[in-house]
């Protein structure tokens, strides 16, 4: 009836499927807290555990220089385990402002 080619049919079918799924998601997000929670991606996705992170991983994030990264790892190794990020203030050069910045990338379990 519409005299559409294969590609045209595929494109229209894709759009129709996307809209159909989209309506479903929209409805579920309104009704189900689980779906809302799943869709709500934490802005801190991929944060690293300070008690497990390696020097290389810290360095790759670009949040501190090589020496500071080494001092952080050394402090953790000396203490065995850090209870919270505030303990990093013991490292020379890490201030409250720096801790707040580090909080975007690191967490303590």
């Amino acid at each position: 009836m519409f005299n559409l080619t294969g590609d045209e049919r595929r494109a229209i079918l894709f759009l129709a499927a996307v809209i159909c799924i989209g309506i479903g998601i929209s409805f579920l997000a309104k009704r189900s807290a689980g779906v809302r929670e799943y869709l709500d991606i934490d802005s801190g996705f991929g944060k690293l555990d300070l008690n497990r992170v390696s020097r290389d991983e810290l360095l790759r994030l670009g949040i501190a220089g090589a020496k500071t990264c080494e001092k952080i790892i050394s402090l953790r190794d000396t203490k065995g385990r850090l209870a919270n990020l505030e303990e990093l203030k013991e490292v020379r050069g890490i201030s409250d402002k720096r801790i707040e910045k580090l909080r975007e990338f690191l967490y303590v379990e």
Partner: protein, 468 residues
């Protein structure tokens, strides 16, 4: 020879590499190149000697091209700058690249015209990378006067060689500007037009999707990675899926497909359709910042469309080599760019290894369509991984055995997000009422992609850091 470019492209690249790692001057390469061309003319009637002389000429011209590119003119702006310099300069020129948002303001390339220090004013030329507090109205093609410090970049900056990075872009100095004055607005130019479309698309995506999902969609649709956090990038590097955040051949293919389809629905003639699509591809290339993977894919796309226009068969290897030569003729330093190497290595590996793997595994003879699709996906993913694993290990010091498995799931999801991104732009312009539903699917796909990546990165042995 049916595929002359397949031979000439590696020879030309070898010439560039020789010039980079030797101290032979431009004149020697140039004279030898001219002599080789003369010899090729002399041996015109003798195929073997002619081919040998021509190859040598291409090799030497590749080397001469790099030497010429690296030689700065006497009035290049970098000659006015020093490594440590607190003097205030006034530089006027034309904005060449789209101003990128940074944490402290914006950054763009400026084609300099004049420089003033105290009462001394000189005409100059050459590119300068400008950092400037953000202001509206700056777009490619606009003429501005900037006041601030002018200096040469140091080699080690933020963990990588910033001087080499800038040199690959053709810029040899930096400007940290405090104030700017618009001398002449951009007017109509193709890059300015592309820039305005890009801004509109960014607004549409940000209006419909929440923060991490909109960043991912913009990276996939426009190559705009500002919205992707370092943590997300790091996780994707670990699983070997970071390439999906780069605009590549897949995106260019989608743009070409949508354009041809749309024009077909409007009942526009076949040849006119291809010409308009080529124009749209150029606009898309400019919109996405003309990075190496996009330029490669655009040149290949135009090559294929020209073949369709002329009703001739297109050869993917020739198209790939043409794209390589096109980029290296304009800027031979790109040969040493990571993006360039990864882009060409992955496509070359897919083109050369994938068909052989399919033949070896007898995938074509499989009757089960699902098994066939899965095996083909594994073959493509494995081929790309083989092509890029060496570069990734060398540059990123990481080896990810999970790459092939992660890509099997991540690539279809990335394709879905990209398609949703383009569909969102279309529906927001044509049927705004439907766009929230398209955005919901994009958001869900982004959430699944991130969670899957996080899961893969946590698998023991998914990746290893290499020493060094």
């Amino acid at each position: 020879m049916k595929r002359p470019l397949i031979f000439l492209a590696p020879v030309f690249s070898s010439g560039i590499a020789i010039a980079e790692y030797t101290d032979i001057p431009f004149g020697a390469f140039y004279i030898a190149g001219v002599l080789s061309i003369a010899a090729a003319i002399i041996f015109f009637g003798m195929p073997k000697s002619f081919s040998a002389c021509l190859s040598l000429a291409v090799l030497l011209l590749g080397a001469a091209n790099l030497k010429n590119f690296s030689t700065l003119s006497g009035n290049n702006i970098s000659r006015f700058a020093y490594y440590r310099n607190d003097a205030v300069y006034i530089v006027s020129g034309i904005i060449k690249s789209r101003p990128e948002r940074t944490k402290t303001g914006s950054r763009f390339l400026l084609e300099s015209k004049s420089v003033r220090r105290r009462s001394m004013r000189s005409d100059c030329r050459g590119l300068v990378m400008v950092n400037l507090p953000y202001r509206d109205g700056l777009e490619p093609g606009a003429e501005v006067a900037l006041t601030g410090r002018l200096y040469r970049p140091s080699s080690a900056f933020a963990g990588f060689n910033y001087r080499d990075y800038l040199a690959r872009k053709g810029a040899y100095c930096l400007m940290s500007a405090k104030t700017s004055r618009l001398l002449k607005p951009g007017g109509f130019c193709l890059s300015g037009f592309a820039f305005r479309i890009k801004e509109k698309i960014e607004q549409v995506v940000r209006a419909h999707l929440s923060e991490p999902a909109s960043g991912i969609m913009l990276a996939m649709v426009l190559g705009e990675r500002g919205g992707v956090s370092a943590l997300i990038s790091d996780t994707m590097i670990k699983t070997g899926t970071v390439h999906i955040l780069v605009v590549s051949g897949f995106n260019v293919g989608i743009v070409a497909f949508i354009s041809v389809l749309f024009l077909k629905i409007l009942r526009i003639g076949r040849r006119v359709r291809y010409v308009i699509t080529i124009f749209i591809l150029v606009i898309y290339c400019l919109m996405t910042g003309s990075s190496n993977p996009v330029v490669r894919a655009t040149v290949m796309g135009i090559f294929f469309l020209c073949a369709l226009f002329l009703e001739r068969e297109a050869d993917i290897c020739n198209a790939l080599c043409l794209a390589l030569l096109y980029i290296l003729l304009i800027n031979p330093r790109q040969l040493f760019d990571i993006g360039f190497q990864l882009s060409f290595a992955s496509v070359f590996a897919i083109v050369s290894i994938h068909p052989r793997l399919c033949l070896f595994l007898r995938i074509a003879s499989l009757k089960n369509k699902i098994a066939k699709y899965i095996l083909q996906s594994i073959s493509v993913s494995l081929s790309a991984w083989v092509g890029t694993v060496g570069f990734i290990a060398y540059y990123f010091r990481i080896f990810s055995p999970a790459t092939v498995a992660a890509n099997l799931f991540a690539v279809p999801l990335a394709a879905l997000i990209t398609l949703c991104g383009f569909s969102l732009v279309l529906t927001a312009s044509l049927f705004p009422g439907l766009s929230p539903y398209v955005a919901s699917v994009g958001e869900l796909a982004a959430a699944v992609l991130l969670k899957f990546n996080g899961l893969m990165a946590r698998i023991p042995g998914a990746y290893f850091y290499l020493p060094g």
